[in-house]
Symmetry: C2
Subunit: 377 residues, 2 copies
């Protein structure tokens, strides 16, 4: 039986107890709010994690790449939403997946996009299911729920013989806040603008069965989801320090960490040097602009208990520098001798996980299982 002490470093650890609690918490919340839940699998890219999400009650998945669609379809999942605006060049790959039986849905937010989908679909005799991306907070893509563009896109799809499956939105700006009232209002804005878009399409005689919204902060802040049919969220499965700062999880909820070993010191500077650099943590500095900057991560002991005040202060490719957030620990070589194993909680789980070919999943009995994950496009 492999245990934590057998692992080489650096390694991406998953605390499966925390993972399951995070999955259950979100699913129960979505059940209580009366919507289906379609987890975003871009966070884990791991069949073991997604199977736990489906077992808890998730219906379908969201993907950020067609490679995710291919991999999870190969694992037996058919109900898949590709939640990045499609470009014509990727339609042959979408078509191939659909012809093999994958119920893959795509999105667009422009008339040009809708027309290109319709033209390709007609040429190949395929009625693609397309959802329209709605802009609910100005942070990235999507069409405003008001205005003509929405109806023009809907018409271009429906008249082009495509199936208009619904609208979808992502209140990505929710990551920028930490006030529960602001987050609750943003969740309501995400809901209201998405539902408004769906109603306008329906009033115009266009089909719009699904209203899909979501982000982890709004999922955990919404008071009601009237008119919404499904919710999407991804990072909640692992959580991270950014979500801790947003206020939707505690440090004890964070299920992903990086196991590392002390390889040296610069005692006069109060540095312990570890073998987790930015390659193991990612370059994500998502907490830099938040109320509490964790550098490249919060230092914990090997058992995963945070050591207050100690951060991964800076990184090179395979070197990390553990130090006090404030002040200098001139005793750091004695505190963390060479060979000491620590865990680092990440700023952003999606980014840190992506650096690792596999997770080391720690089961409740202490056994460690390697869970593969994939990357690339």
């Amino acid at each position: 039986m492999t245990q934590l002490c057998d692992l080489d470093t650096p390694a991406a650890l998953v605390d499966t107890g925390r993972l399951q609690r995070n999955i259950d918490r979100m699913q129960q919340r979505m059940n209580a709010l009366g919507v289906k839940f379609r987890p975003h699998v871009k966070t884990s890219k791991c069949v073991n994690v997604v199977q736990a999400q489906l077992a808890a009650g998730a219906q379908g998945i969201t993907v950020s790449t067609l490679k995710e669609a291919e991999q999870f379809f190969a694992a037996g999942i058919t109900d898949i939403l590709y939640a990045v605006g499609i470009v014509p060049g990727k339609l042959p790959q979408v078509l191939a997946l659909r012809r093999h039986g994958c119920d893959l849905k795509i999105i667009t937010d422009s008339v040009a996009g809708a027309q290109a989908i319709a033209a390709f679909g007609q040429t190949h005799g395929e009625s693609f299911e397309v959802w329209i991306e709605v802009d609910v907070d100005g942070h990235r893509s999507g069409i405003p729920p008001e205005g003509e563009a929405l109806l023009l896109v809907g018409s271009a799809l429906q008249e082009g013989g495509m199936r208009l499956g619904g609208v979808m939105a992502h209140a990505g700006s929710s990551y920028d806040f930490d006030d529960p009232v602001v987050l609750r209002n943003l969740a309501e804005q995400e809901r209201e603008r998405s539902v408004r878009a769906a109603e306008r399409l329906r009033q115009a005689g266009l089909s719009c069965p699904m209203v899909s919204v979501g982000s982890t902060p709004t999922a955990l802040s919404a008071e009601h989801l009237q008119g919404v049919t499904e919710f999407r969220a991804g990072v909640y499965a692992f959580f991270d320090l950014v979500m801790h700062n947003v206020g939707v999880c505690t440090m004890q909820d964070i299920a992903l960490s990086v196991l590392t070993t002390v390889i040296g010191h610069q005692e006069d500077k109060g540095w312990a040097i570890v073998d987790a650099g930015w390659m193991a943590m990612s370059r994500d500095r998502g907490t830099q602009k938040q109320k509490r900057d964790f550098g490249y991560g919060q230092v914990c002991n090997e058992a995963g208990e945070p050591i207050p005040g100690y951060l991964l202060g800076s990184t090179n490719q395979e070197h990390g520098i553990v130090c006090l957030a404030e002040g200098t620990d001139h005793n750091i070589a004695a505190r963390f001798p060479i060979g000491t194993r620590l865990r680092i909680l990440p700023n952003h789980a999606c980014a840190t996980a992506a650096q690792h070919p596999q997770y080391q999943a720690i089961l409740p009995n202490g056994e460690v299982q390697a869970w593969p994950r994939f990357y690339g496009w």
Copy 2:
């Protein structure tokens, strides 16, 4: 024959003409300076690139992980320096490589480290070749060339039956400067402090045949390398925007770029949205603190010619926002219609390359070859 137009996006492109010129430039410089050159393969992690470096005259390689050592040893390379301080827990892996015929050298910068290596070596009847890491600029690891610690580490190794192979240093702070005079002085400091450390060891009756120094900026700034036996550098093979800002390459030298497609717009904001997000570019914002901030990268047309003023201004996981560095291009949807293919020059080649399972190498005749690269530990 696969060509650029056949590639899906995002994809990591390597301009092999630029790559070869970068490799030749560095090798010729090292030849002229009279030192051996041991390229750092952490940048590319790609056998094709490393074979080109060896063909140009490189002698041995530098690695940042034992996985790199294993992979390149499997590809037939035996002279390998593992340039991250060893921890006792990794010695079994080092031993296995050496027993299979790999001439793997390890480094340490502490008496505790030296003693642990000696104890493990004695137990297993192996005389490890160990180099002592010297601190030449206070930026990370290493022992000062002056003081007792250097001699104590040397003695611990030699008396413990290990082979003291040399000293090594890396002036990593060179990335923080952009003044040729400062860089030349730093290169001289790197050289002088490393040579001084070697001479002190020799004067104390300790063996120290090799004096190994290196970073890409100091490699291209040093005036002479008296007393140095070999140089190490990595990012020079690809170069990047950070090196452009340091002043050691031009934008036309950058051999790595990310091919991407426009997937949508927010015209009122002057945004074109592309399918290269931080997953394809990495989260590296290395130019943020430099004299010119390139956001997440410089936008080029599909042929690789920079489009002045356009940056990848911000990113999400699979979305990037192309915009003007200053001002708003309200005509951006007409300038870059949906389906337009662009290339993005990266801030930091080591970080961007690490996000991709393979390179798409563009040969001089326009043919594109997939060159695999690996990741993980």
